[in-house]
């Protein structure tokens, strides 16, 4: 099977879906002739024309907002936000319009829209570009939030997203665009939402993560193994829908859990993971679920970001503490 980077897998998914379904279109800043600042849409305008790969003015709210109308007209828009941080300019259109239009119109209008947005740190790009904002979209019922960690999942989840009649926020890890490479089938396949994936087996503790943090957890699990700590790694893949059963099962199986994310600590999605686990598997927990996250400070400039985002040492430390702790 061909090995692709994440950004190649995403590009392939877009191209194949535009080929398969002529309602699918892309719109956003620099998506056309440039092929996107990360080349995720490279060559698509040449292939599908300027209408279906639309270079828009620099205005995130109308990119999201026009997608509402495009979806109503029968198109299947896949807007690109150049960076997830700039969804803030479109927050009212995403959270109050795209997410709720089906509900508001009582099912009359479907919002078959997939908002793609890269994000995440470790590539020396400034605030807003790097911010991990996924938790801010969880309180927007109607919207699904998808966070692939591998090239395989990126393609399969993106195809699932575009075909889902519900709107999806599809967050792509900048750090994974070129660094993450894995086998990607050339043909059509989808990865279902709400099914977390055990990407490494282990028995002492489960590391729960999504997006770029999954790779971090896999690397740390290797090091932990050298110390005799056997880590399972659970990749959530989608935050909404959340795979509640998988979280409960992992807590039951390993009794100990550490959740890792790039977003700030307080109010990050890690809190929801913990709340869900203690609701579903309280009696299986042998230690408090630990969180490894960015501190409660804004995303900093490149010179200090290495301290800001979670690294192997911090995950290891949390693992040691969690495993060293015995049940009450």
């Amino acid at each position: 099977m061909p090995v692709l980077t994440m950004v190649e897998a995403i590009r392939q998914a877009l191209e194949q879906e535009m080929e398969r379904d002529e309602r699918v279109m892309i719109l956003g800043e620099d998506v056309g002739r440039l092929g996107g600042v990360f080349r995720a849409t490279d060559g698509l305008q040449r292939r599908f024309g300027e209408a279906r790969v639309l270079d828009t003015p620099l205005a995130e709210a109308v990119i999201a907002g026009a997608s509402v109308g495009l979806a109503m007209s029968g198109m299947v828009p896949v807007p690109e936000m150049q960076f997830l941080g700039f969804t803030h300019q479109a927050f009212h259109q995403i959270a109050d319009q795209i997410a709720r239009y089906r509900f508001r119109s009582q099912g009359r209008f479907s919002m078959q829209i997939t908002i793609r947005a890269p994000f995440g740190g470790g590539v020396r790009t400034p605030e807003m570009h790097s911010d991990a904002l996924e938790a801010q979209f969880i309180q927007s019922p109607g919207l699904k939030v998808v966070m692939p960690a591998s090239a395989y999942d990126a393609k399969g989840l993106l195809l699932e997203a575009i075909r889902d009649p519900d709107p999806v926020l599809f967050c792509e890890p900048l750090r994974g665009y070129r660094l993450v490479k894995d086998e990607v089938p050339e043909g059509d396949y989808t990865v279902p939402f709400g099914k977390a994936k055990i990407v490494r087996e282990g028995s002492d503790v489960t590391l729960v993560a999504w997006s770029a943090a999954v790779q971090l957890c896999l690397r740390t699990a290797e090091r932990a193994a050298e110390e005799g700590i056997s880590c399972r790694v659970l990749d959530l893949r989608t935050l909404v829908p959340l795979d509640v059963e998988a979280l409960a099962q992992c807590a039951e199986d390993t009794g100990r859990v550490v959740v890792v994310h790039e977003a700030p600590y307080t109010g990050g999605f890690g809190a929801e993971v913990i709340a869900t686990i203690q609701e579903e598997a309280f009696y299986s927990l042998e230690a408090p679920v630990a969180r490894v996250a960015a501190p409660d400070t804004p995303y900093p400039i490149a010179g200090v970001e290495e301290w800001y985002i979670p690294n192997e040492e911090r995950v290891l430390k949390a693992l040691r503490r969690t495993v060293g702790t015995t049940g009450a």
Partner: protein, 361 residues
């Protein structure tokens, strides 16, 4: 609070007009509507006004929620909507355009259901080319542009009309939507109803622009100022914009200068910010007598004719209210319906639990 002599609202001297203040055709002007069309328009205006009065009283009785009246803006709303073909064109409303929605195919009883607080009241029937009422000001403008673009891409000859207020036009969404409409030449008509106020904020504090239509040039669009209390002028301007849009010539911004004769809504107290003198002057510009005079001048309406029309309107409204009130009351499952096409497990679990709890009560 000192009242000033410069009033907010009303039409500029150079706004486009067809009728004079008494409903007489201006010299050289010709009526763009036939007598039958005029009668239809007048009936919508009268229905709107009657509905406002009934709704305000229903609200006082606690039978419906907060209500924003069209009162004073009937020519502006009806004149614009008349330029559309409901079988192919679309409307994206703000919230103060009820007769436009009705004329476009929204059943009155459904609309009342909305004001009663039933979620189903927000759903335009299948085939009715209408977006739901918008709460988030100006958010509908990008939607309208997107739909217009989608129609154009699919070779559909429909056009889109969207309404917003003078207040809403200060939102960033206004700018982003009009700018995109210009670039993609979307078949969309922006009807900016400048009624002098955004709740209490007067036109003069909303923008230092000489007119809102002056903004059109900054997007490469034609902009028109029309006397929004002149039904014929509004219709003509809207009709031309629709023709241009349908012919592939892109979008138009229409500033319809009118006046909100009622408070912002049933919770508002207009006397805090509008002087009695101003209200008095603006009442004199009420669009309804102006059309009535015109129709009487044409000899197609008399007191008896209007009384009959009024009776049929009263009946229509009463029936719609009765229908809405006879509708099955809202129930707990409606909290969960239509949130997702494919709801996820937790939402389904919540629904089951909430329904069980509600039954247990």
């Amino acid at each position: 609070m000192t009242s000033t002599t410069i009033f907010e609202g009303g039409a500029d001297a150079d706004a486009y007009r067809v009728l004079d203040a008494n409903g007489v055709l201006l010299e050289g002007a010709s009526a763009p509507l036939s007598s039958e069309q005029l009668l239809e328009a007048f009936r919508w205006m009268l229905l709107s006004r009657t509905l406002d009065e009934r709704a305000v009283s229903l609200q006082r009785q606690g039978r419906i929620g907060t209500y924003s009246a069209v009162y004073g803006q009937e020519a502006s709303v009806v004149g614009s909507a008349l330029a559309l073909d409901p079988s192919r064109d679309w409307i994206f409303p703000q919230y103060r355009e009820l007769p436009a929605l009705l004329r476009h195919g929204m059943p009155l009883s459904t609309l009342i259901l909305y004001y009663v607080g039933n979620p189903l009241g927000a759903r335009p029937p299948d085939g009715v080319r209408l977006a739901p009422i918008q709460i988030s000001l100006a958010a509908q403008l990008p939607h309208a542009v997107g739909l217009a673009l989608g129609l154009k891409m699919q070779g559909d000859d429909g056009v889109v009309m969207t309404f917003c207020g003078d207040g809403a036009s200060s939102e960033g969404d206004f700018h982003e939507a009009l700018n995109l409409a210009g670039v993609v030449k979307a078949p969309v008509i922006f009807v900016l109803q400048n009624n002098g106020y955004a709740i209490s904020t007067p036109r003069s504090k909303q923008s230092a622009a000489p007119s809102f239509a002056a903004r059109a040039a900054g997007y490469g669009l034609p902009g028109v100022v029309v006397d929004g209390n002149d039904l014929l002028a509004v219709y003509e301007v809207a009709r031309d914009a629709v023709q241009r849009a349908r012919a592939g010539e892109g979008a138009t911004l229409i500033e319809s200068q009118t006046y909100r004769l009622y408070p912002h809504n049933t919770a508002d107290d207009q006397s805090r910010y509008v002087s009695p003198e101003e209200l008095e002057v603006r009442r004199g510009e009420d669009p309804i007598p102006r059309v009535r005079n015109h129709l009487e001048g044409l000899g197609v309406l008399d007191a008896a004719g209007e009384a009959a029309m009024q009776r049929s309107i009263d009946e229509e409204i009463s029936t719609a209210i009765a229908d809405a009130e006879a509708h099955a009351p809202a129930n707990v499952t409606q909290v969960f319906e239509h949130v997702y096409a494919n709801p996820w497990s937790r939402v389904t679990r919540q629904r089951d639990e909430f329904v069980r709890d509600a039954e247990g009560l």
